[in-house]
Symmetry: C2
Subunit: 543 residues, 2 copies
């Protein structure tokens, strides 16, 4: 039996496009004499469909699209993920299912048992857990088909009372098939391989694993679908960050493969972000981006990533100097735009700032320059960038990094604007690393941008270090608090100064109101701001 793993980039709710892609992959697999093609979890709808799942109309369309794909499965079978109705009560209305398509119809349904409901996952919001287990017989082989999390309940987490494969193994299957939606973070491909290998080691069966590829707003799927022989040797590893289809002959499995070592955190983040930006625009039907290019490192790295994703000619840089912009800000920004070959323009904001000051004179008279005036400058830039976005159909890219987003070092409705935050899950220290990675062969981002002290340039001689601890310290504390959920005592015990720790945690917790209104952030870490981190706004904890 020949099994094809089809790793595709789906579009949520776009049934026509998803269906066409899958039918075309089936045709392709058939041409290569495959007996079975496996697609990803909830491939029909795209992942995550979120509350679209609450609409009967949406569920009907999923079923109809699956039936149409089934018609393409005549001399070939397919495993396809979709939501299906749970007809029995009590229980949630839906199952997260794998459909086995054969002989032109939906021949069998296998439902998911373990429903991840943590971080960015909300599956128990929608789905009833399956409690009945069965394998599928096909061409003399018995297939143990499962959906994603159902084979992840091995190892340290141990969240669920059952292991679905322990049930399926009782029927003596010949092969494990798992369809998944396993989003990227920079440690995920290693975790994935560890879990897959642990399954083969436990059940002694070959395993075929189909993942999504492509970005869905903030979630980036890196692909990297996998195949193992029954000895636990890796025999197939599909491409990362692009669509792929590979075929494996059960009767003649290939030799152990040299693993694609995708372990360089910075290179992984870089590739993920490029795909994230690219798919965001493609799937929304936009081609061109605009961003404010300040001469600083965050906007420079954002610009390079956008240029790689969209083509440099489609990324419009706008330099928006104020009273307090230094000369090198303009020259560094211009250097980068020219180097990339991107269009750019300069729109000074000074006269607008003065006009606004004038209008606010009755209210502000006698009060000294402060945060309000700093924010006015950032917000004028926001107005101008959005004017260009509205007029010319650009999407504004947000250039904030994770350190700033964490401590609220940014202006709401100003530099926090944008349709998508490119670097919002990348700490400042890693933004520097990304810049060096981009420059690894030649200077693209001016070295001056990388070397100068970070500054918002909203008042004379301002430096980030006036208001914040050094980024090495800040980011280390933030990582312990955000990614590792360590409390103040634990972080102090690691050797950080208590006053600094308390100040940082307070800044994080009192900035929730800002992050609530931030753009979606491309997720590259185990804990990104956004849907995977849900905090009260009105609260008094560590602040």
């Amino acid at each position: 039996m020949k099994i094809a793993i089809a790793q595709l980039n789906y579009h949520i709710g776009n049934f026509e496009s998803n269906k066409e892609k899958m039918i075309s992959a089936i045709a392709n697999a058939k041409k290569q004499r495959a007996d079975l093609v496996i697609f990803a979890e909830l491939a029909i709808s795209g992942y995550p469909p979120r509350d679209f799942l609450e609409f009967d109309d949406f569920i009907d369309r999923c079923w109809n699209a699956t039936e149409q794909i089934a018609q393409a499965c005549v001399d070939i079978a397919a495993v396809v993920g979709l939501p299906t109705r749970n007809a029995t009560k009590p229980g949630k209305r839906l199952y997260n299912s794998a459909a086995f398509l054969y002989e032109g119809k939906i021949a069998d349904l296998i439902h998911k048992s373990l429903l991840p409901t943590y971080d960015i996952f909300d599956e128990y919001r929608y789905f009833e857990p399956n409690r009945d287990f069965h394998c599928v017989d096909f061409k003399g082989k018995r297939l143990a088909i499962s959906v994603c999390e159902d084979i992840w309940n091995l190892g340290v987490e141990d969240l669920y009372p059952i292991k679905p494969m322990d049930e399926l193994i009782k029927e003596n299957p010949d092969v494990i098939i798992n369809i998944a939606a396993s989003p990227f973070h920079y440690e995920q491909s290693i975790r994935r391989k560890t879990i897959m290998k642990a399954n083969v080691d436990r059940y002694h069966l070959p395993l075929f694993y189909a993942n999504h590829v492509g970005a869905q707003t903030e979630l980036i799927f890196d692909g990297g679908s996998l195949a193992y022989n029954e000895k636990g040797e890796l025999i197939g590893e599909l491409n990362y960050f692009e669509e792929d289809l590979q075929i494996f002959d059960l009767a003649d499995l290939p030799k152990a493969l040299e693993e694609k070592k995708r372990t360089d955190k910075i290179a992984l983040i870089h590739d993920a972000l490029v795909l994230g930006v690219k798919n965001y625009f493609q799937k929304l039907g936009f081609e061109r981006a605009v961003l404010g290019l300040s001469g600083g490192i965050d906007s420079a790295v954002t610009m390079v990533i956008a240029a790689k994703a969209l083509g440099a000619e489609n990324v419009h840089a706008v330099l928006l100097p104020s009273h307090y912009s230094s000369d090198h800000s303009i020259t560094d920004a211009e250097y980068l735009a020219k180097k990339l070959g991107s269009p750019y323009e300069i729109i000074p904001i000074k006269s607008i700032f003065e006009r606004i000051e004038k209008q606010l004179e009755p209210q502000f008279k006698g009060l000294s320059f402060g945060i309000a005036e700093e924010n006015i400058q950032a917000r004028i830039r926001g107005v101008l960038l959005m004017a260009l976005s509205n007029k010319f159909g650009y999407i504004l890219l947000n250039t904030s990094n994770k350190s700033e987003a964490a401590v609220g070092y940014g202006t709401l409705y100003g530099d926090m604007n944008g349709g998508l935050s490119v670097l919002g899950d990348v700490y400042k220290v890693d933004v520097f690393e990304l810049a060096r990675y981009i420059n690894r062969q030649q200077e693209i981002i001016p070295w001056n941008t990388i070397q100068k002290a970070p500054s918002a340039e909203l008042r004379p001689n301002q430096k980030d270090s006036d208001s914040l601890p050094d980024y090495e310290i800040l980011d280390a504390i933030l990582y312990q608090y955000i990614e590792k959920r360590k409390g103040p005592h634990e972080i102090v015990a690691m050797g950080y100064e208590e006053t600094v720790v308390n100040r940082v945690l307070k800044l994080v917790n009192t900035s929730e109101y800002k992050r609530h209104q931030a753009p979606p952030i491309l997720r590259v870490s185990t804990k990104a701001f956004g849907q995977g981190r849900r905090m009260p706004i009105v609260a008094k904890y560590l602040c």
Copy 2:
């Protein structure tokens, strides 16, 4: 045995304040010779604590605060909600528990079995469901103690495979005690009574139900805690929208009570919004609000609600006329501010608009006035309002309504700005009803504001009806789509024009990116925008 129901307004994460309140309620109950005081679900932490629950430090503080409250329970017992650790694996790390406090210590723990994970609820994200059931014996009575949802699995929803009270009843308890966190929407108090009565009818026991009161960002708890005798007669109904404590003698339960008929949707919404605004400011430690007063109905209603919540003197109205503002906009807005006795000022935006146009001339030359120019006006207002907010420590109130939020009829970083959206869960037709309710005894909002055709006044002679269907039609379609999750075919089958339905649903689905960056919205309906409605941004469904 005398049972006190303590209905308090908690502050999330503010253990000191929550603890003090509860200790003081215990002292009060003791003075009135109560034997037992019952507090709400997760009272110790406030509800919902959300991802604070992932911090060991937070869980420790919950436990410590509960132990301190236990020390106040010497000649009296208490039932208190808190998160506790689940020591056994496999499983989630926590339980959602009711602690029984007596003789100075935490004498028993009862864990919640049914974990609501829908709409605004995320409980399975954090908690392991309980599978062991036991009653608590106290002073010769056997108490069946449960947490919120555990007694809601009666009736049509039928989401869960078990009914915890069916297990507890086997131990022959004498009384049902339920501690809850049941947030307000305008039909909730009726549902709550129906469910409570259904429990008494099924188990034939008196029932005491303690709810939260007070707002937690977008969620408003209306209180209305309940007591029933074993015949299913309502014998106690605590106040709505304020703290309360009532005591019931099991040996001498009062006669059936006349129900507080809180069924007037508009009056309920009004009271809920006033509490929502009040608590948002109080719990964040702010006193003063600012808002843009346009002369239109949304900002007028928002202003009146804010004045009731904060005191008229603490609500600063800003009139921000543009080229296109009509004379009545100014006079209507001034009338309202004067009528309320609120401070107001006028800051014309024309000269700023012209200055921005001038700066954008190189880019915009030869292009005609359009959405970009409309949005610039809205964003200038946003800049000015935020400047005042930043300078004087006001919180900006957002004045958008649910109809606008639904179809994206608003400017991101412009009139969509604000710390809190007051009317974002109120359809335009209900905003009109709220205005009439406010004016029921005398004209507070000028009748002209209520009667004139709604307009954004961002271009000459603009009317909302130029771009949108009449609000009666629009809101009816939106209600079916948003609250009822009906699809296009179902809505058309109700008699709405197909092209209008398709256009409206498309507007809703293509505006997700705007709502993603909107302020938190006070929730008053069964389906509000925000954390209870989770939609993909990049998707292609009905659009």
